[in-house]
Amino acid sequence: MHIQQITMLGHKDHGKSTLIGSLLMSTGSATDERIADAKSTSKKLGRQFEPAFILDAFSEEREGGLTIDTARAQIKYRGKAFELIDVPGHDELIKNMLSGASYATTAVLVVSAAKDEGIKPQTKRHLFLAKMLGIRHFVVAVNKMDTVGYSQNDYEMIKNDIAAYLDGIGVHSQSVNFVPISAYKSENIISKSGNMHWYRGKPLMELLLTCHTKNFTGKMPLRAIIQGTLETESGMAYTAKVLSGTIEAGSSIRILPLNKKATVKRLYVKGREARSAKAEENIAINVSQDMGNMRGAVISSTNMTKSANAISTMLFFVKPVGGSAELRFNGNSTKAKISLDKVIDTVTGKPKNTQKPKALDAAECIIRLEKKVAVEEFSSFRDLGRFVVYSSGKFAGIGVVEKVLG
């Protein structure tokens, strides 16, 4: 059965883990044992029951009342399956947030309406990052409504502020659903709350059902990434993962960035010889000529895929990077020179009046690569339009290709 992956987003303490705990319990997806464990730990720590402990399993997470690292849990609702991805809401744990959220196609932004909480830096920064990660569907859950007397006015204020930010970063807010909830009291989660009659929309789970979609990579042109090599009975073969379209034995293929042509002599899927392979399958191919190490090279039948060493990009810095960095595209690493064009404050979504990005800033940059790579614009094909940034061997951020320059 197809599983839709949904990431939580939002500032620390606004209730992301609690919402997942609540969804697990109200859909009958948590075992008695895990609920009992969360209950007894809450009691030991002298607290009221924390549904968040169902996912926050580390001692430091439970005792400290925070999510340190990402975790996942699956639920089934009305015949559809979802995987809920929890992420930390602390700015210093953003690499863990990215590691979790990057798998999702849908995001639920959790923002607390409680006094002194409201819209905080990670509320907006997480939206910015979700847009960059290519997340397509957004739902905004305004949480802790029970602590503000279910005030419609408080809800509307948060809603308007978030909607304006979404429009500012290019996510059409009219297509985003907003829902007032209490994760702790399970209000507007599965069924409509009796305390918020002014809310005309659907409860959260109903909204998530409408985001349940499949992607259609099958009918697109062939794209496959070469992973490495292995030995077959007919000699050395390249291993590759098909990203879109189909590949056939006997067919002629074009390999980028070298722009070489070759014929697929033999094709193997799951260890057996096959006539063709489709998107998502891992293959091994014997080709008409040995081209040496091709890790990270791309087999493509569309001229949308280009060999390039100059790209216009959006970068997000977990750590600020100077003029040079190492970029990793699907296992292929290359040195890069970065020229900053515009530094962007990810909390306001607006340009900053500086040329020096700080940690957690984004920037529009022109990047020159030391060697050519096979790329596409992120908007045309995501897997080939994104990369991870390393600096001095350490993870420094992520980037997406906005335009291939040449």
Partner: protein, 267 residues
Amino acid sequence: MELIYMIEQNLDELEEKSIYIMREAKERFGNMAALWSMGKDSTVMLALARKAFMGKVPFPVIHIDNGIDFPETYEFREKLAKKWKLDLIVQNSDIKPEISGYACCGANKTVALKKIMRERGFDALIVSIRRDEHGIRGKERYISPRTKDFKWKYKNQPAELWNDYSSKQGNGGHIRVHPLLDWNEIDIWNYIKREKIPINSLYFARDGTRYRSLGCTHCTVPIKSNADSIDKIISELRSTKVEERSGRQQDKETAYIMEKLRALGYM
């Protein structure tokens, strides 16, 4: 309300994810081995490796043998090692009768694993853990570094996104590879059925009990069950409300035991 805590995922999707991770690890690490407990998960992992690598398992498989596994387990080991032409390494661990549970798994098994990893200079180790087994295992990465002392620095795990699994071991440490992280218990059984994978007979019910999760004879307790076939196990799991590792003593002694065990290098 109907309780469904075990979702049956698409086996083709899971299979492809696992093959990708194993090929990635094989590409990156020069001297990789895998742990094989003769349990269902690590046996499925070997079946997946055969698909990923043209019908043969291209790395040594290690059994950390404390000498107190079930006779059926040893028998299954010999049979499958021969059938699948496995490069089997049996590493004995000293079993001390006075210690059990946490101390036993933490000390004996981990010590023996450290010994063989050092002797053979393995830089990566495939471990067939699944996210749904335990809250702590749910926090793992696909490719995860361990220090020289086998410690898991879980408070500062590397970023892992967009097909970038570039964690390095460094300083005498090694990498844990987790190709089965996405699988659920019921997926393992659906896959065993679909692929007709040979399986340890202890999983099937005899006289009203069966083992749902296998460890050594000292710390593993069977569950009440009449499921004496794969189909019956699958239908039993479809309606169970009990955790898989409820028969494993070492998980329960004190709070955060799995966290402690894993931080020390346990599987």
